[in-house]
Symmetry: C2
Subunit: 684 residues, 2 copies
């Protein structure tokens, strides 16, 4: 049997609508539960307002940026407007805007549902772990379904209307440029608050993590939403769109390939829907197991469904199915390896906790070392999956490995968004005085969120790795098309030779960019957190009765500091990567850019894996010590572990996961601007 | 005028002899000064004995390793003995052994002179800063002259006798494999002792850095010698030999090129002799300025002399002179950039110190961030010098940029070895109760040593970078010769395309190796230091009167812990890089190895720069706080700064500088084994 490509477009729309409908059902399910505790109501209202304020101000800045970028795109891309036709430039600009808008909507709604379900999860925790888990998970699933629905809808619509995969790169660039800033801004916000709250509360005053006397506690909870929910959603929306876009560019006009891409995306979304619908735990079950097993169920369903499709459709290739399967399986294996380095039931976390007993320097050194080591299995895994899928399906095969890895992204996001919801719920349970047993349940849910987050991060970094590898091929295809159009046929690229000094130049510069980008983000957190620490000290010094819990802290000022600080830092950090790409391209043309992309991917993957895993390791080591090991709370080991966790916070939640987006943005900028570089007289 | 290559060989021998004679003069000059203080005599005797014990045990292990490696080389390289001729295999094995022996001798004598001059420097500090500076500097210069003399002598002798640059790679591999272990072993030793001494002495007990009550204090001083003097000497011996070897491989049979390489090396050594002979400070002068200005003097003399040589010899090329000049100037600029990030009179150190006032997590985060940022100028500098020298002189030009950068290595080593000598002198001045003013002078000398060390490290990392870039070309040349010999002419390489999945596979694996290697070294320090901290606690708990200074600490046990620990860790860390190269080569052949080398270089440079600079920054931030800023000694900022320094110790003195050697070793293994990979039936 062979179906028309149009059929798959229509199916894509249909399945997107199913995803939206299911999301709506889950939303209404969440909403019909009521919050009774007055204190929880009040605090979750404060969190919601804080998140809305930040996002309103952030989106205001970003809409200016997006409009400027759209104007530049309209003038210059895909070709300067005085050389090409106005129609495609307008289409490119519009699809860019569409990418930013869809990404923003997914983030916005995700935060809305997350701030709705945090209090309800806390309330449900009174009834037991099973209903609380379900509330947290379903809240997160709304976000997961929306993101994947939006990306499938957007990609199908843009390609159907324009019929040109290059225009799709514009859509993808819109998604990823918004993700870059959302991730950076949200990441700085969340860690500013978290770090400052931990250092003043836990370390200096010895009060609990979510003690309402701490003026930064609401900002910390707001941060979970704007950083982890909105930022992460934008990030995975971007990865998913970029993976499909690069596969579609490489598919060219081959109908079978285009059909396969959409078919896989559709089946991935359906598998995620099934996985989400069936996820639950019994009364005694472990939430970590529930989350992981729903990932495995989704994976298995997806592999079975795509195998069936390959059997049914005569123009589908088993080799390409092999590529997607290789990508997905390697993704799961990488997730398991990450788990080994960050799960507190495994030896590494225990070793790091043990090192803490000798002081914070040892905590930091062992975390950094194991973080470096943890990159080994993932890097080898990515290298192997690229090699295998190339052997099976060439460059297009690599892009399908990325599509395969991201097929279950709906499930991944649901698991990921579950984390901040239950983290919030834990805080609300404490602030609402729901009693020890409820807090214990919330704590268990939260700990599962941390473990699963480490796994999903390893997964999404690897997927971004494969995506940008295929974007490298997409870039070469675009550059060569441009060379032909410009009549510089003797400059056509057949590859990027590392012995070529321009390529080599690009590699070295590209490799240092993720380091510089991370440094800017971490310094942003560092500076802002210091500011907030000062403000907290001020409040404790000047507000009478605050320490005793008799008067209220001034939460709004802390939220304000986090907001203004992160908005100030987000633009320069986001721009550095884009500007560096343009500078290298203008100096050395497509050859240097090819090297630049490679250097960027390689060091980006290494640093992202290192930082995410080291951060996860420190976080769980701290939790392990707090559970009574190595002296427990208040011991030397605990103080050292808290310092390790603080160092790890911007690693794992600001810099590490932002690097994904940074390498994707750079790849897309390169592909989009290849035609411009080629026009320069000294190039080619 | 044109001279025969033989004339340059003879000149090389002559100049090496001059260097040795000058070194002997300086040695006798150092020796004729007497140490009068009985306590200093005693302690420096202990340091000397400790260093000798460690080196004897280390060299014993390494000689076994070297003999095994020589046997393997004899059987397999340059071609399996059953295919090639026994003569070249024997020559290769012998030149490998020669490389290890010369490297070991340079290290051994360096430590001998350093342990001789430390006490004398302390004594001289009583008379003022000028004589103390001279003693410290001249002690270090003996090492500098010996290393460069040995490398010039060795390279000239091996090439003259064998007439085959490939055999020279064997000599270079001998030097670098010894350097790898010496650097790793010495680096773990020195930081084990330093970290443990600081944490127990400074942080827990609040006693001074070199307080004789601390049982680890002698081990700390021993470490300065075996880690910084012997290890660093072996490292730069290796870099210098590798740079010349790769240039000579790329020079092929072109007499002009060979002549130029030796001429530049000869003139570099002569310039260093002049620079060393004229270095001194007046009574009021700053030691940092004295050290830096002698570097600039040497650079200027070298550039002038080589320009003169290019003018005089008709077969010398101005373009190649330009390459060497580009390399050298970029090296100096990188040194200055490093200085900006690590000098305590510049803003970055002050910012890091200020962050310390908010606690150790901020110290660590800001150090990591600025460490990342500091890699930017160096990476761009290396990229530019590679680009410029390629445009001027092709691949050979890049190798000459490395030769140019390393031409003044005699001066660089002198500056570098000065550091541990004055560091020891500072300790001895304190232990010998030489009074506050003398300790202050020793402190000033020590601080200059730290600043200059940061600069020389930046310099040597960059030089290693350029060297391995040219080794990449050397590797391709060797692999192609092997393909031709094996009759696999259709597999001949014209480059390494990053779009080739085998190359890409190699890149990803190669990139993760420096991270894994660093992690193993840091974990080695981490584990050993924890062991030593326990031993120190034991001594304070069980030896009566130790805290009050009434009884003696058991120094020998601490030295033993550092020795056995570092010897246990050094072999696996050293082997991982070699084994990974062989595995990748056996799987993917020369193509994958090309990628592997590139990935290794890129991430190696990034991590080496990051770790060296972050470490230097933390060290000087701590010194800045100790000088009375941000609250001074005993303040929160001070405690945080000490933790930062402790994290930085294995960064800057164990892992960071070992990466140089690691990337060189990997490049040489690849070049040497290319013929073997080519023979595999599935390759080509």
């Amino acid at each position: 049997m062979i179906w028309e490509v149009t059929t798959f477009y229509l199916l894509a729309f249909l399945v997107a609508v199913i995803a939206f409908a299911f999301a709506l059902y889950l939303y209404l399910w969440v909403k019909k539960h009521k919050v009774e505790n007055a204190r929880i109501k009040e605090v979750s209202q404060l969190i919601k307002e804080g998140a809305n304020t930040f996002m309103a101000r952030e989106y205001k800045i970003l809409s200016v940026f997006a409009l400027v970028a759209a104007a530049v795109i309209f003038v210059l891309l895909p070709q300067p407007i005085w050389m090409g036709d106005v129609g495609s430039n307008a289409l490119m600009a519009v699809s860019y805007i569409l990418g930013t808008v869809l990404s923003a909507i997914a983030g916005k709604i995700g935060v809305m549902v997350a701030t709705l379900s945090n209090g309800r999860t806390a309330e449900n925790a009174k009834k037991g772990i099973a209903p609380a888990f379900l509330m947290g998970f379903r809240g997160g699933a709304v976000m997961g379904l929306l993101v994947v629905g939006c990306s499938l809808l957007g990609v199908a619509a843009v390609l159907w209307i324009s019929g040109d995969a290059t225009i799709l790169l514009g859509f993808s660039f819109g998604a990823s440029s918004l993700a870059l800033f959302a991730k950076a801004g949200g990441g700085i916000f969340t860690k500013t608050a978290d770090v400052a709250a931990d250092l003043t509360g836990k370390v200096e005053l010895g009060i609990a993590e979510d003690d309402p006397r701490n003026p930064a506690v609401i900002a910390d909870n707001v941060g979970d939403n704007v950083g982890d929910v909105a930022g992460m959603g934008a990030d995975l929306f971007d990865s998913n769109v970029a993976a499909m876009a690069s596969a579609l560019v490489l598919a060219g006009d081959t109908k079978a390939n285009i059909s396969m891409i959409f078919c896989y995306a559709i089946l991935g979304l359906l598998s995620s829907v099934i996985g989400i619908a069936t996820a639950r735990i019994d009364k005694k079950g472990s939430p970590t197991k529930a989350l992981n097993s729903s990932t495995y169920v989704t994976t298995a369903i997806f592999l079975a469904l795509t195998a069936l499709a390959t059997l049914v459709f005569d123009n589908f290739s088993w080799r390409i199915w092999g590529c997607a399967a290789a990508g997905l399986i390697v993704g799961v294996v990488i997730g398991l390896a990450t788990d080994f380095f960050t799960d507190d039931s495994k030896p590494i976390v225990k070793k790091c906790a043990k090192a803490s007993a000798s002081g914070p320097a040892f905590t930091v050194l062992s975390g950094i070392s194991y973080g470096f080591l943890s990159a080994l299995p993932a890097m080898i895994g990515i290298a192997l999956s690229a090699l295998i899928s190339y052997e099976l399906g060439g460059v297009f095969g690599i892009s399908m490995a990325a599509v395969g890895m991201l097929s279950i992204v709906g499930m991944i996001i649901s698991n990921d968004a579950y984390g901040p919801i239950v983290d919030n719920a834990r805080g609300l349970a404490e602030m609402g005085d729901l009693g020890e047993e409820t807090i214990r349940i919330a704590d268990e849910l939260d700990s599962a969120g941390n473990t699963v987050k480490a796994v999903t991060k390893g997964f999404s970094i690897s997927a971004a790795g494969l995506t940008v590898i295929s974007l490298l091929s997409a870039f070469m295809a675009e550059a060569n098309a441009a060379f032909i159009a410009a009549g510089k046929t003797n400059a056509i690229l057949t590859g990027f030779d590392i012995m070529d000094p321009y390529v080599f130049f690009g590699i070295l510069v590209g490799a240092v960019i993720p380091a510089v980008f991370s440094a800017m983000l971490i310094l942003g957190v560092d500076k802002n957190a210091q500011r907030m620490v000062k403000e907290i000290h001020r409040q404790f010094d000047t507000i009478e009765g605050l320490k005793e819990g008799k008067s209220k802290a001034d939460y709004a000022t802390c939220i304000n500091i986090a907001t203004s600080g992160s908005l100030r830092e987000l633009i320069p950090a986001g721009l550095i990567a884009i500007v560096a790409t343009l500078v290298v391209g203008f100096i050395g043309g497509p050859k240097a850019i090819g090297g630049f992309l490679l250097g960027n991917i390689v060091s980006g993957l290494l640093l992202a894996l290192f930082m995410s895993n080291a951060g996860g390791l420190w976080d769980n080591s701290k939790k392990y010590v707090e559970a009574g090991n190595e002296g427990g709370k208040g011991s030397t080991a605990h103080k050292a572990a808290v310092i390790g966790d603080t160092v790890g916070d911007p690693f794992k939640d600001t810099a590490g996961p932002s690097i994904n987006t940074q390498i994707t943005v750079v790849s897309l900028v390169a592909s989009l601007c290849s035609a411009l570089f080629v026009l320069l007289p000294w190039i080619g």
